[in-house]
Chain length 182, copies 2
């Protein structure tokens, strides 16, 4: 029943990518994510995970790097600044909304995650600088609003009717804010 003690035959071992995939799923199920539960799902010993992703904080960091890297996908030069700003914010809002538990974990240990979303805010700030003199102020407003809205969405996940209209409400609020920017 139990696996042999030593190094597994080639191909039998667990992959870093498999761990991250499973971790993201388990995390957002919300029923108590833990290293041990994740290991059990992968039919592996808890300590096996440490070899690939480090400890709990390291695992969360690897997950968030993957999730937020996807927000920056696409060619920045292909859109005009206003459109690119909107694209980045909608995608960022979508990522936070899709993985609220990850977001909460990040906020709970901000020191460990400084810089994870730095690329996104840097690009947004540069783009905002083209449209207004108050770039930093509007970066605050837009990013904070995206965070708050996405988390509020999570808070309403048990009320499908309200949740369904949340995306439309975010887009409406975002366009309202962007219109005030110009």
């Amino acid at each position: 029943m139990s696996k042999p003690r030593g190094r597994p035959a080639r191909g039998d071992g667990i992959t870093r990518e498999q761990i991250l995939d499973a971790a993201l799923l388990l995390l957002e199920e919300g029923q108590g994510f833990s290293m041990r539960a994740l290991a059990a799902r992968l039919t592996v010993t808890p300590m096996s995970l440490y070899h690939h992703v480090g400890d709990h904080a390291g695992l969360l960091r690897a997950i968030s790097d993957r999730v937020y890297a996807a927000v920056l996908a696409g060619d920045a030069a292909a859109e005009d600044p206003a459109a690119r700003i909107r694209t980045l914010l909608v995608r960022y809002h979508g990522a936070v909304k899709a993985y609220p538990q990850l977001t909460l974990a990040i906020f709970a240990q901000p020191a460990a995650f400084a810089g994870t979303t730095r690329d996104i805010t840097d690009q947004l700030l540069a783009l905002l600088g083209m449209l207004t003199r108050d770039g930093e102020l509007w970066l605050d407003i837009l990013v904070d609003h995206a965070h708050g809205s996405a988390l509020a969405f999570h808070a309403l996940r048990d009320h499908p009717q309200q949740a369904a209209s949340m995306q439309a409400r975010y887009l409406k609020a975002l366009d309202q804010l962007l219109a005030r920017l110009a």
Copy 2:
């Protein structure tokens, strides 16, 4: 060394208020809040807490009720709507900022906390209705922004220089938004 097993003499027992006071302090120290750690700080058995505040979720609920009730203090009729809106938002932002760990715990289990801040949003919505037809939209914008900003403040708590200017930046952003509302 150890306390007697039975009911303590009058006045020797622990108070619900003492538990909430200590819990709020311990929670925001950020070094791993737990029922057992809280009990240890109060030099009491973990199970003693259950008698006064229920389980972990019940304790958090009791804490948040206390914290957010303070936001509504003061006489609503003494201020005009715009001023009252600003007062409520600044105070709400202050509460979230002062107790970020509490806020994160609430967002992590939103089902258990539905209604905790309902009084605040209800009053804000009524006030916003006096100033604009898009009351719900602006409620979203202003509350979400307050949440996001307060949590961002927490994320920067290890960078005192930036953190010091965060309050001023929130007030500036808030006034910017409120100006757009009229």
